[in-house]
Subunit: 340 residues, 2 copies
Amino acid sequence: MGGDHGCGVVIEGVKQALQSLDRISRLYLVGNETEIRAALHRLHCHDERLQIVHASEVLTMEDKPTAGLRKKKDCSIARAVELVKNARAEAVVSPGNTGGILAASTLRLRTLPGVDRPAIATVIPAPENEFVLLDAGANIGCKPLNLLHYAVMGHVYSREILGYHRPRVGMLSVGTEEGKGNDLTLEAYKLCKKVDIHFVGNVEGHDLFRNRVEVVVCDGFVGNVVLKTCESLAKGLLTWLKAELARSFKRRLGALLAKNAFRDVIRRMDPDAYGGAPLLGLNGHVMKAHGSSRERAIMNALRVTTEIIRHNINRHIQDQIAAANEAIASPASIAAGVLA
Amino acid sequence: MGGDHGCGVVIEGVKQALQSLDRISRLYLVGNETEIRAALHRLHCHDERLQIVHASEVLTMEDKPTAGLRKKKDCSIARAVELVKNARAEAVVSPGNTGGILAASTLRLRTLPGVDRPAIATVIPAPENEFVLLDAGANIGCKPLNLLHYAVMGHVYSREILGYHRPRVGMLSVGTEEGKGNDLTLEAYKLCKKVDIHFVGNVEGHDLFRNRVEVVVCDGFVGNVVLKTCESLAKGLLTWLKAELARSFKRRLGALLAKNAFRDVIRRMDPDAYGGAPLLGLNGHVMKAHGSSRERAIMNALRVTTEIIRHNINRHIQDQIAAANEAIASPASIAAGVLA
């Protein structure tokens, strides 16, 4: 029911996903049954793997997450998360209110053993590689231990889903030397050095699009600002270039001849290619699809989710978090007071 | 003596500035006299407004700022700042070690009355306007009162130097509602509402390149990360597009026809057009030129500096800071505990 374009667009994306993804054995559509049935009928979407789970309410973009969930007991996101909690589904995908998805899944699924806080992990394409940035906004205030966990979870995600054998993990900071950063990143840096990931130390904004890292760790405030700034700048730059290209006949002709080059860049930068961002660290797989998702984004969010299930990334995360917590809790670490 | 390209490039920029800027009545070149004389001779730069001030040492990019200044008493940046302190010069411009310039000017010039911390103010071009982002990295840890002062200083800079009659000032955060942000921005938001600037509230990364603000306020950690990410993304995107445009004859032909469009965008985005970023809040005008400055950047840094002097922005900053400090110290504000 969530998302900016309503139920029909979601169903169209679902239809495409079912056509191309054999792996899906069952797909629950959670929300207003009448509306969903009408959309399925309208779009000629009939697949025996589909099952409707009725929910009488919707958590809207205007609802405050926690208060909204308390008030709207029968809202679709709560019902959808319940399917995962009750092991009827292996993952939940939603283009709805991010805070609502986060609150519903944290409250009902809880975090994985050893993880304090979940993180939103956003994949960002760069010219020569792609990297996962986390946290992109799940937690505004955070502790060094949370950043360590983000590093471990990002490492697992980048390895299992993006396919980097040994992803390079960097701490986003204001200088590459170990001594550069704020209190939070300085402490987290020390923790990250102790665990079994390919931690390359601090990275600066300069390094993000230069093939230096496949995982970028930062708190949710910084991550959210960076992510949205990148989206805004990329869009702004292309709009700007477009306007310049329209200024004369010669330029328009040039743009026409070169249009495939633009198309290729735009396509690779398109957030719809990823469809959304997973919430990592929860005791269940949760995918936040973009609120502005169109069919293709919904389809891709479902595709990536099937990959997440296939790789069972939560099992990997749980194992690696346990190892990391043990590594930093070794007597030497406790003596050094890094857990203080 | 600073900068990545050595003395000659600086002198070439100085030569261009002296040719085009009548306003400069005297220009001190501070550093190794022999080297400077040789460069002046080599570049046929003879202008009676030039005066060499010898300094036997250079604070390099490898020096730790404070320790370096203690050790190298006769370094060029310290000598240059002294000229301002002793009122022999109205401003200092340097492409050297940022930390060194910051430390030397904070130690010797001190901050303006009422200002706790200086800020690096970087102007960033957007498709429809330009905005000043501060702090771009002068202070990593900061207090709500510092952010208020950044807002006031950015307001003055944007009005006097960028020419916006009533610049819109935004607090960089993770949502536009007043309740969105971290502890620092939430407190600073309350302070900014009380003072006489056009405070538009929170802005997100999404808003930066959409003509929503002419001043963006954030702590030095966030500002530094955002600035460097933008530079990296813009450069990465254009490199990417260039590679795509080279892939076929048709694309190469298109790119050739449209090349002026690219040139126009690149030129407006070029950080050399601004030449550097002023350090605001100090008891003297200080301009940090880019370390990688070429002739044009040095020339532009000097040009902007003459504007800063002409508008005497420090007088405006001092007045508006005094008014702001008074506004937030009113009995009602004290009762509300905003200064706590």
